[in-house]
């Protein structure tokens, strides 16, 4: 196997895209850093330039001014084709090659890079395994023979094929039904836990951004950066009215969904009674449970089925303060 590549940092440095004949830039003086191995979600209303900003990274859109640096190297200095082969690219409509099998699709970039047959074969099997499509069943199928969710899994495997340190994902789960979307979001996080890429993830869905992103960059109309921070801090301290409005009035509840019962300090059980929930339950679901059961407290159950502690409504509201 080839040596695993380590993740790299991406820096937007005054990145600007001005299309000729337009009164305002599509992306305006964007400056922020995505640390190596993190997922940064670009969110914002349509017309916020999030996809354009993402495409500055692999030069599907060329910078007008400013710079984007990957691992310290300006994308302007790199050969367009080589740059793109080193960046995984996933789009909403997937864009699988209809005339190629699943295996051939996944092998696209390794073939361009001239890997050997046996290397490609074992890499394809490894990747199909990673995205949970058994290679025996799927490698020889065509795109027309698999479901939408399966197609996007193949799209993800194809983007990961040459083990690029950087991935660009443009609303990858936007066309999927809610159940498949949630499943794939979780899978992405599981896969990211294994592969540790630096990922630029474009979405218009703030909930998806909060769930998926280590960091969230919110763009406003005119392609200007409104705020970039961790999901927790964006929800706790929106930089201005625009961000507050964009993340929604339920941002307190959204914050609760970021934390699970197992991650907070609990009061001692002390023989408390009331509804119970496992440690993997989010605070948001815990609150919902308390409210619907008409209880002011909740017993948290450990993996051993024994009570680990108690969460009260008062404790919850303290946590949000």
């Amino acid at each position: 196997m080839r040596e695993r590549r380590t993740a790299v940092e991406i820096v937007f440095d005054g990145a600007t895209k001005q299309y000729p004949g337009r009164p305002t830039p599509a992306v305006d003086d964007l400056s922020f850093t995505i640390p190596a191995g993190e997922i940064c979600c670009l969110v914002g209303p349509s017309g916020g330039g999030k996809t354009t900003a993402m495409k500055l990274v692999n030069r599907l859109v060329e910078l007008t001014s400013g710079d984007v640096r990957i691992d310290g190297r300006s994308v302007r200095e790199l050969d367009e084709t080589e740059l793109r082969r080193g960046i995984g690219y996933v789009i909403q409509q997937v864009g699988l090659f209809p005339h190629m099998t699943v295996a051939e699709n996944v092998a696209t970039v390794p073939r361009l890079l001239g890997w050997s047959r046996s290397e490609i074969r074992s890499r394809v099997d490894e990747l199909l395994d990673l995205v949970e499509l058994p290679a025996v069943d799927y490698r020889d199928r065509y795109a027309s023979q698999i479901s939408g969710g399966e197609r996007q899994r193949v799209g993800l495997a194809r983007a990961l094929a040459a083990d690029p340190p950087v991935m660009l994902m443009d609303e990858p789960f936007g066309a999927l039904d809610p159940i498949t979307r949630t499943r794939l979001q979780k899978e992405l996080l599981r896969i990211q836990g294994e592969v540790r890429k630096t990922i630029v993830f474009v979405t218009h869905d703030i909930d998806e951004a909060i769930l998926v992103g280590d960091r969230v960059a919110i763009l406003r109309e005119g392609g200007r950066l409104a705020q970039v921070d961790t999901p927790e801090r964006i929800l706790a301290r929106p930089a201005d009215d625009f961000v507050a409005e964009f993340v929604g009035k339920d941002r307190g509840l959204k914050r609760l969904s970021l934390t699970t019962l197992g991650e907070i300090e609990l009061d001692a059980p002390n023989g408390a009674v009331g509804p119970s929930a496992g440690a993997e339950t989010t605070l948001r679901d815990a609150l919902s449970l308390m409210l619907s059961e008409g209880s002011r407290s909740l017993v948290v159950i450990g993996a051993d089925e024994q009570p680990r502690g108690v969460l009260t409504l008062d404790r919850l509201s303290e946590l949000l303060r």
Binding site: N58, L60, E80, T81, E82, L83, R84, R85, G86, I87, Y89, I91, Q92, Q93, V94, G95, L96, F97, P98, H99, M100, T108, V109, L112, R141, Y142, S144, Q145, G155, R158, A159, L168
Partner: protein
């Protein structure tokens, strides 16, 4: 002897031939090797050369028009114009330049294939879905690689469809090549028309039809072999 038309007599005309009945199998049997089979071979040659040359020209033009849209109109107009000229008139127009030769016939036959092949190749090349092209670009395929690995394979069904129409119509059209040179299935037909010898007209005509069907079937089979994805249906 009757007072009817003069039937070619090879010394042992059957009563069927002598009476010019609708169809005389014995004539076909007796004249297969000397008349019909050479005509079929010549006909295939006329067709293959015309379609091959027409394909090369139209394919190159379509690639150019795909890359640079401004070439589409001139070639479209030119090939459509050629297509509208009646076959016999086109032969007449060419004879002063290329004489009563195979070249005259081929130039005309090639001319008629251009429009259909050009249109189909170009449409095929343009049929690649936009998201597929974007994925190709995003993964770092060059323009040339995108053409060779994505656009051309996806254009195959349309290209073969164009070749089928071009081939079948060329087989039909090639029968009038006999106006210019004594080649192909047009030769026995023209010869028989002079005397209204029914068997020969029918035999040569049927052979032309069979040839067209055979060519069409071969191309369909070739397409199936080349584009397995097109016939792969969703597995329930």
């Amino acid at each position: 002897m009757t007072d009817g038309p003069v039937i070619p007599d090879f010394g042992k005309a059957s009563s069927c031939v002598a009476e010019n009945r609708l169809f005389c199998p014995d004539w076909v049997r007796d004249n297969w090797g000397s008349v019909l089979q050479p005509a079929v071979v010549q006909h295939v040659k006329l067709t293959v050369i015309a379609v091959a040359v027409g394909f090369v020209i139209a394919f190159a033009a379509a690639l150019l028009a795909h890359r640079h849209g401004r070439f589409e109109r001139p070639f479209s107009v030119f090939s459509a114009l050629v297509y509208t000229i009646p076959g016999i008139a086109l032969f007449q127009l060419l004879v002063p330049f290329t004489g009563l030769s195979i070249l005259t016939v081929e130039v005309a036959l090639v001319g008629y294939t251009l429009l259909i092949i050009f249109r189909n190749v170009l449409e095929g090349l343009r049929s690649a879905p936009p998201e597929v092209l974007e994925a190709a670009r995003g993964m770092g395929l060059t323009r040339r690689q995108t053409l060779l690995r994505v656009e051309l394979p996806l254009a195959l069904p349309a290209i073969v469809a164009g070749l089928r129409v071009a081939t079948v119509s060329t087989i039909a059209l090639a029968t009038i090549a006999a106006f210019v040179v004594p080649e192909g299935l047009g030769r026995p037909i023209f010869a028989a028309l002079r005397d209204y010898f029914k068997t020969e007209i029918i035999a040569a005509g049927v052979l032309a039809i069979l040839l067209a069907i055979a060519a069409d079937v071969l191309l369909v089979l070739a397409q199936r072999a080349l584009t397995p994805w097109a016939s792969a249906r969703r597995l329930a």
